[in-house]
């Protein structure tokens, strides 16, 4: 058996207590640092209500998971230093086969943490839909959703286009949204599965052919944001990106008026506005 190191006064060291103190000290020092510096630096940032709530989620999870990480790391370091074999010959350790107190408290603590995380995530999700795609009948709608501005996102290989049903169903190649507005994005596809990811807005919704996948986002101030396709959709998936803008409502009104005039001649060639579209009968491409 490992002889415990003898401290100055000749008392045997309590490894358990020493480890717990080390861990607590590490938590007290590291957790606030992680939460303050890393947590707030975690994207997607402050571009929309949903993005802000995601940052809050991430910060809280970091603050909870940092002590868990430290528990294992400090334990490993402590154990590997204190209980390393100091002889070349093979010596057995003490035959400890378990300890029900430690087992029960470990189960209780991990269960409580997990249930809290699941409850908290559910609460955040129910509040506003969290910016994720929710299918054709969204269950978790933010307040005031009946008056949301409808924008349809149409994905196809390999670009996004956007239709504004509130403005005569005009279809435009770049996304512009008014500031401080609740927007209902209806994401759909014309061919393979894509995923509409507006990074700074904290929005991601898969685009499926024949499906209207709704995501809500509440914009804040004017902003330029990146749009990527986040689901592998074939050859040029890596180039399926775009930049969108949030502008103040006067600019938006002017912009959409100009778009309607500009695209009026082609409007009659577009299919009538629908919640989703079906691809052409099975057609293959390289």
């Amino acid at each position: 058996m490992a002889t415990p190191a003898i401290a100055g006064g000749g008392r045997p060291v309590s490894h358990g207590r020493r480890f717990l103190l080390l861990w607590l000290a590490a938590c007290v020092v590291v957790t606030p640092l992680v939460a303050i510096f890393l947590g707030s630096a975690i994207p997607p940032g402050n571009g929309s209500e949903q993005a802000t709530s995601q940052v809050f989620d991430n910060t809280l999870m970091l603050a909870l998971l940092t002590p868990a990480t430290l528990l294992v790391v400090v334990f490993l370091v402590y154990v590997l230093v204190s209980f390393r074999s100091r002889t070349t010959e093979v010596v057995d350790g003490p035959p400890i086969r378990g300890d029900s107190r430690i087992q029960v408290s470990w189960i209780a603590i991990t269960s409580a943490t997990v249930l809290f995380l699941a409850g908290f995530g559910t609460y955040e999700l129910v509040q506003s839909g969290a910016g994720g795609g929710q299918g054709p009948d969204p269950a978790f709608q933010p307040p005031g959703h009946a008056k949301a501005l409808d924008v349809q996102v149409i994905a196809q290989q390999w670009e996004f286009t956007y239709r504004y049903p509130a403005y005569g169903g005009v279809e435009v190649p770049h996304l512009v949204l008014p500031a401080n507005t609740l927007v209902r994005l209806d994401v759909t596809s014309l061919d393979a599965i894509h995923s509409f990811w507006a990074f700074e807005l904290g929005v991601k919704a898969d685009a499926n052919p024949g499906v209207d996948n709704v995501a809500y986002v509440t914009t804040k101030g004017p902003l330029t944001f990146d749009i990527h396709c986040a689901e592998l959709c074939g050859l040029w998936h890596g180039y399926m990106f775009d930049t969108g803008q949030v502008v103040d409502s006067a600019t938006f009104a002017g912009w959409i008026k100009k778009q309607r005039a500009y695209f009026a001649p082609v409007l009659k060639y577009l299919p009538p506005y629908a919640e989703s579209y079906l691809p052409d009968p099975a057609k293959r491409a390289g």
Binding site: P95, R97, A118, I193, N208, D226
Partner: protein, 631 residues
Amino acid sequence: MSAAAVEIRPPVWRRLFGFNALTAVLLGVGGWYLGWFIGHQVTGPSIDYFGDIDQNDISIFLGYFLGVGGFLIGLGFGVYPWARLRGYPPSLREKETEGVGRYFGLCTDHKVVGIQYLCGIGLFFFIGGLNAMLIRAELLSPTNHIFPPGQYLTLVGMHGTMMMGMMTSGILGPFANYFVPLMIGARRMAFPRIESLTFWLLMAAGAILTTTIFFGGFPTGWTGYEPLNDQANGGMDAYIVFFALVGISMCLLGLNMIATIVTMRAPGLTWSRLPIFCWGVVATSILNLLAAPVLIAVLAMAMLDRTAQTVFFNASGGGSPYLYQNLFWVFGHPEVYILALPGFAIVLELLPVFARKPLWGYRLAVAGLLGVTLLSFLVWQHHLFVSGINADLRPFYMLSTELISIPTGFTFICGLMTLWRGQIRFTVPMLFCLAWFFNFLIGGLSGVFLSDVPSDVTTHGSFFSMAHFHYTIMGGLVFTFFAAIYYWIPKMTGFQLNELLGKIHFWVMFLAFNSTFAPLFAVGFLGQPRRVVSYPAHLHFLNEWVSVSAFVLGASMLVFLYNFVYSLLFARIPAPANPWGSLSLEWQLPSPVPVHDFDRLPVISGEPYAYGEQGGPPIAAPAPAPAGGMS
């Protein structure tokens, strides 16, 4: 046996004829051309989409099927059923004493199959790893491209599919086949021919996936999502046949393991005395047996969509791409635990040996393994949080996913507490096991972000999730795969691996692994989607850093390869029968293990891992004279 020993062996060139790998390859190629020919005869012009480049899905599928059939017949898998049909008596053993040749054909010795698996899977592991190097070479720059986008996607798909397909058997194939019978005191597996079949199916599958490059590759990555799957050209068929064969192999492997462990344990080896590695094998095998059939079914549907014009996944015809996603992940989530659980089992099996203590909380560890097994069937839609399907059920899947961290935590507490007050020796296998704690901790905790729906909206489909599953699978499975190699190779071959090279391999691999995948969490958080050939300019530095680290990680594998080849083929320093001083049954046998394993079947009289306990080990060396706890 004695009659065969005095028989003069025919010259080498004569021994090349017969049922062996060479015949198998020849018949496989012949079968391919026969299938290809028949396919062209039965295909009407309306189905032959790729007539201009001579790619015809029916021909390709028939070619692969008949090719696999020819391959298996060439190996001799038809001989025994044919003999039985003609009334010959049943037998369980075949071709176990034919020198080196037994490694190149059907052999029912579980130890030969284990070594076949190690070399075969190792080969495809290196091909998959090479693909990863090429992917990182392409991502060195967002604008200067080495590969056109189609080739790049094929590389991504081949890397993912090869690793996810082949490494499902990465630990069960080599180590469970070799050591489960030795650990439970049996002389063979329950179904020795099926055992060999699982290996050769996997080899056929690997070869088939590699042939995808002749048909233009495939663009879907390892998930093979519809409707891109249906759009893709002939290379997609290779993916479908590959994964279906892997599924059959996994299913049979799981069946064989469960049957062996349930029915063939030595007297006295009760369930509560079973080594924890065998429990891990049972848990993984349950997943294999129940999840793989779903994969085979969904791939059969995809094949019918591609050949027989069915519309299972075609929205215009009334089908749904969601169906594919659902069925794929019903398989796909247990699949990732098929990769992770053997790693847990290896860690828990090796820690007692090198900490010189019994496994702490044996029952809790078993409960952890079985709990993960059960829960892993209930979480699959967390892969579809933003897909728009069953959005109301997201709180349930968030809960069930986070619940998995409770049984996973059992593995952690049992492993960590086994180290407490131990006499820890830092051997090479121990280093790899200790690295598992760190890697899987990071992998598991980053998974909490992905399981949380609001956070998943940003991280889903980004490099964050890619970094997460590399931490769990590469950090969890591949590190323990190497732990198992360094631990058990002396028993499997009778030779030592060089320890210094092993330590160099470990440290380079551990540091380069973290240097490769930790920055990818940041890359994902900063907005880079997975599987892209180009990325924003501000991510250039991080991507370069990751690529260079990945090359170092690749180089660490060369250190291992050198050590493996040099130690086993050139240095050949004989290993002692029990170099680690382990108390488990397999180490009590001589090295290398005799063909029939045990002269007398052992009787188990106590709990495993009796390190430091009074009265010595409960399992003494199996010997004619009963000794100690033996009878």
